[in-house]
Amino acid sequence: MSDDERIARETVAKVSRLARLALTDDEIDETTAQLAKMLDHFADIDALELADVEPMTQPYPLRNVFRDDVERAVLDRSEVLAQAPKAVDGRFEVPPILGLEES
């Protein structure tokens, strides 16, 4: 498969929206070319027989971790909110969620 067939520009544009990254047209062009080259290299694993291989998401099987249900110190809310770009009345402040621009 050649580079330009590996990933389409429209796919890259869609992925940038999924990732909430506002990319310029030039950045989408550049990203398309770079991802195509990488995916071409990554095709080396296509030769492997993987049908019977169990996926491995973690180095070890993770077990649920429990702790005693006791009160203890947590982060100071005012210290946390002091780091926010905007905060009001003990909460994070954001612009309107709905309506002004299509997502």
Partner: protein, 497 residues
Amino acid sequence: MTAHDVPTTAIDIAAAVRAGIVSASDVVERHLAAIDAHERDVHAFNRVLADQARAAAAAIDAAVAAGDDPGPLAGVPVALKDNLCTRGVPTTCSSKILDGWRPPYDATVVTRLAAAGAIAVGKTNLDEFAMGSSTENSAFGPTRNPHDVERVPGGSSGGSAAAVAAGFAPVGLGSDTGGSIRQPAALCGVVGVKPTYGLVSRYGLVAFASSLDQVGPFTHTVADAAAVLEIIGGHDPMDSTSIPEPVPDLSALLDDGVDGLRVGRITDLPTGADPDVVERVEAAFDALAAAGATIVDVEVPAFTYGLTAYYLIAPAEASSNLARYDGVRYGLRVDAPDTNAMYMATRHEGFGAEVKRRIMLGTYALSAGYYDAYYGKALKVRRLIADDFARAYERADVLLTPASPSVAFAFGDKTDDPLAMYLCDTYTIPSNLSGHPGMSVPFGTGAHDLPIGVQVLAPALHEPTMFRVAAELERAAPPTPAPRMIDVAVGGAGSAR
């Protein structure tokens, strides 16, 4: 004792401070003086914590004067990678998107080092969010290699590696997701350790790829690395992936030698290492054989697929972890009329090119229609790698490989080709995927008289064996040259031990 008599290793500094032979304040002043003299050439730090370090040193000295034990690392300056949270002290990940953020808590490793008497002297530069192999991806400009300031220190923990090599601190902490401790350690001529996944707490390490990230030390000597790992390792209830066991004793084993140990040579290791690197690895095999180890041939067929598996899995995890940088709770916000536009604008403005590239790659690999072909397949390759390692470790106690395919390269050499940069991690990546420990030990020099590191790999929780082999290599190693930008008064640490 004058400031010039301050020892160069962590163990010697702590012993002198605890015995009252040298004050922690003298130790800190000597290192701040080295920073003052050479930081403008190296740019190891995003922030130097001079006032905080002086105050901590005064407290240590007061404890010594009062007859209290100031801790096993008393007075030891440490350089912290700037993706480790420090309460009230800016933690940037070398990204514009965390501009101005002061974490409301300390990373567990930071807490443990302070409790042991160590003194943080600064937050070190890195590739943005630890994504890179040269520290050129920092929003604050690159760090320079103390052995040749026209060359990279490696990355992503290039600032911590350079800080130790330059004599700014005898201990640095880094994080290693695909080689980000071992590769810069090799390029800067210092010891660098990536512990077993879960041995060191990740609480307060800003997440890049959570199933791969591990914190570890940079030091001049293997013994110092052991001493630091014994402090920062061990179970932490704040990290659900933390192994619920104490860290094994390492320091007591360093003189045990390698007699009877089986050292594996991977016969199907990916090619691409430069001849000078290959020559040093061969010399390392010879040195271990001469010390009584048996060299055995092993195969790790899936090793060569590590790069592909890693560059699908790590960006996939990163794309999820970095979703939190949305302009709501911390750092940068670019104002916009609604939240979605605010997210898009903030992330466009705040992230650098490599971080965007990996978010795009990871989001793509996880997206509907491509998940099975990329992320799903990569997870299966990860299993193959772990299985191949397990078979190899039936025949060998440790494996020996290059840490980096080359000595330190020049700035700009690989910035135009992301894939060329990724290949720097060929030999380090597989043990992140399997969760195994690995470390780079300086073992002579190659082209341009630049340091070369040999990598020792071991099975999970086999740090004791890994450190025994590393200590033997250190005994056999030619002295590492002193960094060229450092004058004799503050340098020479590189040839310690």
